[in-house]
């Protein structure tokens, strides 16, 4: 019998002890994505504007956020801005994740909007719709549908990236694992528990996105 230095029976034993941390991970991710979606939609639309005053800030935001690490962004918000405003760690994590994802989601929306055929806008305009009406009624619904697969991908990335909040002392899954690992001296076991949690959550998220995709396909079905 191989004598391993690990006690894997600890996994089921300690598993329930991570519920609260998992809940925090879900909260950071959920609200982070929500902030990201709002920022992404606004930025994506601004980016498409032909007005330089509107599209330049959007471009700058995407450039800066995509070009720097999320870990650095979190630290700047939490440790760096402390002289100016004191942000609690949870809001800091949510804002950080949201602002970060907003840049990526903006690009997803922009691509999806641009992929809607020009004729759609022309048909809407020829009916007498305003630009805004054409965007809201005709282009965005089609663009949203097309952005679901890449958004699903981005949501999974966001869920996993929420582990970086451990660096600003949010006691989400990863930080909890490290703390438990130190106190029980069973680091690998605790990390594996967290791995199972992440895998479960990303699996559920994947299934949800898949179902949403299916539901949105209704108008594509042929008899």
């Amino acid at each position: 019998m191989l004598d391993l230095p690990w006690d894997f029976t600890a996994i089921p034993r300690f598993f329930p002890g991570f519920y609260a941390a998992a809940l925090l991970t879900i909260q950071i991710t959920f609200f982070g994505i929500l902030v990201g979606l709002v920022l992404g939609l606004v930025t994506g639309l601004m980016r498409l504007s032909t007005n330089k005053l509107i599209n330049t800030p959007a471009k700058a935001y995407i450039w800066v956020i995509r070009g720097t690490p999320l870990l650095l962004q979190l630290m700047i918000i939490y440790y760096g801005l402390i002289d100016l405003v004191s942000v609690d760690r949870m809001p800091a994590a949510i804002i950080g994740l949201g602002v970060h994802n907003g840049a990526y989601i903006a690009e997803i929306f922009r691509g999806a909007i641009q992929s809607v055929e020009r004729g759609q806008r022309e048909a809407a305009m020829s009916l007498g719709m305003t630009q805004a009406q054409a965007m809201r009624r005709i282009i965005l619904p089609q663009a949203f549908k097309r952005s679901v697969p890449p958004l699903g991908n981005q949501f999974i990335i966001a869920l996993k990236d929420s582990s970086l909040a451990s660096a600003i002392a949010v006691r989400e899954l990863l930080l909890r694992a490290r703390q438990m690992g130190s106190s029980t001296l069973m680091m690998l076991e605790m990390l594996m528990i967290v791995g199972i949690y992440y895998l479960m959550m990303t699996t559920v998220l994947t299934l949800l996105v898949g179902r949403l995709e299916k539901r949105l396909q209704v108008s594509d079905y042929r008899e």
Binding site: E117, G119, Q120, E122, A123, A124, M125, S126, L127, G128, M129, T130, Q133, R137, I138, P141, Q142, K145, V218, S219, D220, Y221, R222, E223
Partner: protein, 240 residues
């Protein structure tokens, strides 16, 4: 109904419309022919302000409009447009397509719009397709829905941009029939099409365009049998 004076349009260095003067009278059916790249589609798109001409004047029902006109969308609502590739809204049912303009632009209550929609679908012979999505119907049916959608706005003029050229040959007839009915009802129409049968049957006037200019115009039958210009002759020989 439509008055165009000295219209010029450039795409970069390309002079696509070169000093176009033309009129379309009320209840008139004008058929525009010409090789691809002759500017005929661009002319239609300029009349609906999907493209902006750089020079010249366009009057619609006596009112001049151009790129700077405020509330241009209100003018567009009076000019119906049917596209070569239908451009139906894929996320709306057939009925949804037809009533979109009624509920959104004309702000007609949903129930009333539905009633008008039913009448319009009956007119184009598609009452049974009201609840299906555009992906489920044939090209000919799609184009008939597109015509119903444009008619819903009760436009003063209908523009058709090669309405049958993306269709399989056996589906062309049903679309032309709907257009013929419209012409007989007295709709003012401007049709870019090489369907000679249609032009001779219901067209009041035919215009031949080449390199952005109107080369020749006349009664379809005469222009067809007895073209005056060498370019018109060559072109007609090619398409027949």
């Amino acid at each position: 109904m439509i008055k165009i004076r000295g219209l010029h349009k450039w795409f970069g260095d390309l002079h696509v419309l070169n000093n176009i003067d033309m009129d379309v009278k009320e209840r008139e059916v004008v058929v525009v022919i010409g090789a691809s790249g002759s500017g005929k589609s661009t002319l239609l798109r300029c009349i609906n302000f999907l493209e902006y001409a750089q020079k010249g004047q366009i009057f619609i029902d006596g009112v001049e409009a151009n790129a700077k006109t405020r509330q241009l969308h209100k003018i567009r609502a009076d000019v119906g447009m049917v596209f070569q590739h239908f451009n139906l809204f894929p996320h709306r049912t057939v009925m949804g397509n037809v009533i979109e303009g009624l509920t959104q632009v004309k702000k007609i209550p949903y129930k009333e719009a539905l009633q008008q929609g039913e009448d319009l679908l009956k007119k184009v012979g598609l009452s049974d397709k009201a609840d299906v999505y555009p992906a489920m119907i044939s090209g000919g049916q799609k184009q008939r829905v597109a015509i119903a959608r444009a008619l819903a706005m009760k436009p003063k003029i209908m523009l058709f941009d090669e309405p049958t050229s993306a269709l399989d040959p056996e589906l062309v007839g049903e679309v032309l029939q709907v257009m013929k009915n419209l012409a007989l009802e007295g709709m003012t129409m401007m049709v870019v099409s090489h369907e000679m049968g249609f032009a001779r049957e219901v067209g009041d006037r035919m215009i031949y365009m080449d390199e952005g200019c109107i080369v020749e115009e006349g009664i379809p039958e005469e222009l067809y049998k007895n073209p005056q210009h060498e370019r018109t002759k060559t072109f007609l020989r090619q398409i027949l």
